[in-house]
């Protein structure tokens, strides 16, 4: 559908705003990512973990980033917070707004700014594996208080707040005085969520915040994130759980082989996915066809020059040997030469 484009050229400006037509002229995005790339140099290969990624998150928006494991979802979270290992190279731009003195580019601002102003306060992270993210010699209560003290809360404020955030995430107050090794996986998960929520960040990046929780607690955590957004905060929910995304997300970004291939309002995505990969992923759900996506995702060390889904795609043609760009499509954006429903939807 899209004509051919040369090298870097123009970037479709403001894809983010295309995704949310209900807010024309509203506040700009809290997070504005443009052409973000992350590579890891290994001894004998280069891992392309994130490629030319453009996304925006608005105030009050809950964006779900979904995709198969190993598609670059978690790397995106770590890149935004400057938590990547030293062999990583980050390119592009990721501007975080709502600072008193203008936006800050998370890619270039440096560790001092990230540590002093961004992490925790402006952009919180719920890390993926709580067991490795908790200091083993502190109780939950100490961890929460320590976090709040680091964010310049007084001791008195910190003491009350620990019990408040614990209650918020559904953690029993009695469990606050346990050490991490005394907590079950689900309790540890709720504790890391409480730690990220305690400083009340403008943007919360939650990387698989519901893993290890049973269904009532999954729903509790999701509803908690939803309420944050309804209160004007923003959340990026990174998850492999499509049902979770469907429950709470405003917008969905589907990642495949390091790229965003579809970025659309959640309702549209779940009822009429545009990218064949998005459609195949939804078909894998147990309450849909329960049919796995055929084939295997490509390795991030050996991505094909054209569409990375081409070899698994039922609609692929010769044109798919050229990389499709993310372009505006039905209230959102899709990176596909043959989006589903093209020519049907007016």
């Amino acid at each position: 559908m899209k004509t051919d484009q040369s090298v870097t050229a123009e970037r479709p400006a403001g894809i983010a705003s295309l995704v949310d037509p209900q807010r024309p002229g509203g506040p700009g995005p809290v997070l504005d990512v443009q052409g973000l790339g992350v590579r890891f140099r290994l001894r004998d290969a280069t891992v392309h973990a994130v490629t030319d990624l453009t996304l925006g998150v608005h105030p009050g928006e809950l964006l779900a980033v979904v995709g198969e494991s190993g598609c670059g979802k978690s790397v995106l979270a770590h890149a935004l917070l400057g938590l990547l290992p030293r062999n990583a190279t980050v390119t592009g731009q990721a501007r975080l707004h709502q600072l008193d003195d203008g936006p800050v580019d998370l890619v270039t601002c440096g560790e001092r700014v990230l540590a002093g102003r961004v992490r925790g306060r402006l952009a919180g992270l719920v890390p993926q594996s709580p067991a490795t993210a908790l200091n083993p010699v502190r109780t939950g209560r100490r961890l929460i208080e320590e976090t709040l003290r680091a964010h310049r809360h007084t001791r008195a404020e910190a003491v009350g707040a620990a019990e408040r955030v614990a209650a918020e995430v559904g953690l029993d107050v009695a469990d606050l005085d346990r050490y991490p090794h005394e907590l079950s996986g689900g309790m540890a998960q709720r504790l890391v969520t409480a730690l990220a929520l305690a400083p009340d960040p403008v943007l919360l990046i939650a990387d698989e915040p519901t893993s290890g929780l049973d269904r009532p607690l999954v729903d509790h955590t999701l509803d908690l994130l939803r309420r944050r957004c309804d209160g004007g905060k923003s959340v990026v929910l990174i998850t492999h759980d499509l049902a979770a995304a469907e429950r709470v997300a405003d917008t969905v970004a589907v990642m495949y082989a390091s790229r965003v291939v579809e970025h659309r309002p959640a309702r549209r995505f779940f009822t009429a996915p545009a990218h064949p990969y998005g459609a195949a992923l939804l078909d894998a759900l147990p309450d849909r066809a329960f049919r796995p996506v055929p084939g295997h995702p490509p390795m991030l060390t050996a991505l094909p020059p054209g569409c990375a889904f081409g070899t698994r795609c039922p609609y692929a043609t010769d044109v798919c040997e050229r990389q499709p760009r993310l372009a505006a499509y039905d209230a959102g954006a899709v990176a596909c030469h043959h989006p589903i429903g093209a020519g049907v939807v007016s």
Partner: protein, 229 residues
């Protein structure tokens, strides 16, 4: 299911850890060829029941029977021919896989443990890898170099090495993406069909339970444990 032929059963099992009782006089039967869904609250004893049925945890009272015959002992005290009839697939492949072994060695481990000849091991590993959808280049890697989904496929292959009559899946797909989950489920269902295996499915995903289980059993709260989430 009539009679006791072709079934794995927990009979009046009471089990726990020290003084804490998690299961109180629980009965559960899994027939050959059927998929039984097991549902309970978090901390409700699902995993303990799986461990009892897998002969990994000794019940305080009650017994486990296979085809009506009681199994005595747990772990290595159970004869190999009996314990290899039951296999388990756990929730976290990271915790269930020796990080020092390549995926090929991981799958071969149960065969080596039973002293099968090398050429048979090679053949079986290749067949099993193919069955679960692991490509040859992945087999030489160790767990840290593969994804959770790939590692869980290897654990599934390992669980199937001795062609178990009963496969116990304890939240085995909870941390997998939708596509990998559907694939693992398809592999298990195919195996079940060809081998007439009984499958126990522990999950708190209602959609998965609906789709996969032939019948669902609710594990009642034991009433002894203070009910905490």
């Amino acid at each position: 299911m009539s009679g006791t032929a072709g079934q794995l059963a927990a009979e009046q099992v009471t089990a726990g850890y020290g003084r804490q009782i998690v299961l109180d006089r629980v009965d559960l039967r899994i027939g050959r060829g059927e998929t039984v869904g097991l549902r309970a609250a978090s901390g409700g004893g699902k995993s303990t029941l799986v461990r009892v049925l897998a002969l990994l945890h000794r019940p305080d009272r009650g017994r486990v029977t296979i085809d009506g015959a009681p199994v005595t002992g747990t772990r290595y005290s159970v004869p190999v021919a009996v314990r290899t009839r039951i296999a388990v697939l756990f929730q976290s492949p990271r915790a269930a896989a020796d990080p020092r072994l390549s995926l090929a060695d991981l799958i071969a481990e149960p065969l080596r443990a039973t002293r099968r000849p090398d050429d048979e091991i090679r053949r079986r590993v290749a067949d099993l890898a193919d069955l679960v959808g692991l490509t040859a280049d992945l087999l030489g890697r160790r767990p840290h170099a593969v994804s959770d989904g790939q590692l869980q496929r290897a654990c599934l292959a390992r669980a199937l090495t001795h062609r178990p009559d009963y496969l116990l899946c304890d939240e085995a797909t909870a941390m997998l993406d939708a596509s990998t989950q559907a694939h693992v489920a398809a592999v298990i269902t195919d195996y079940q069909r060809t081998h007439r295996a009984g499958v126990l499915l522990v999950t708190h995903d209602p959609a998965l339970m609906n789709r996969w289980a032939d019948r669902v059993v609710d594990l009642p709260p034991s009433g002894v444990v203070p009910g905490r989430p």
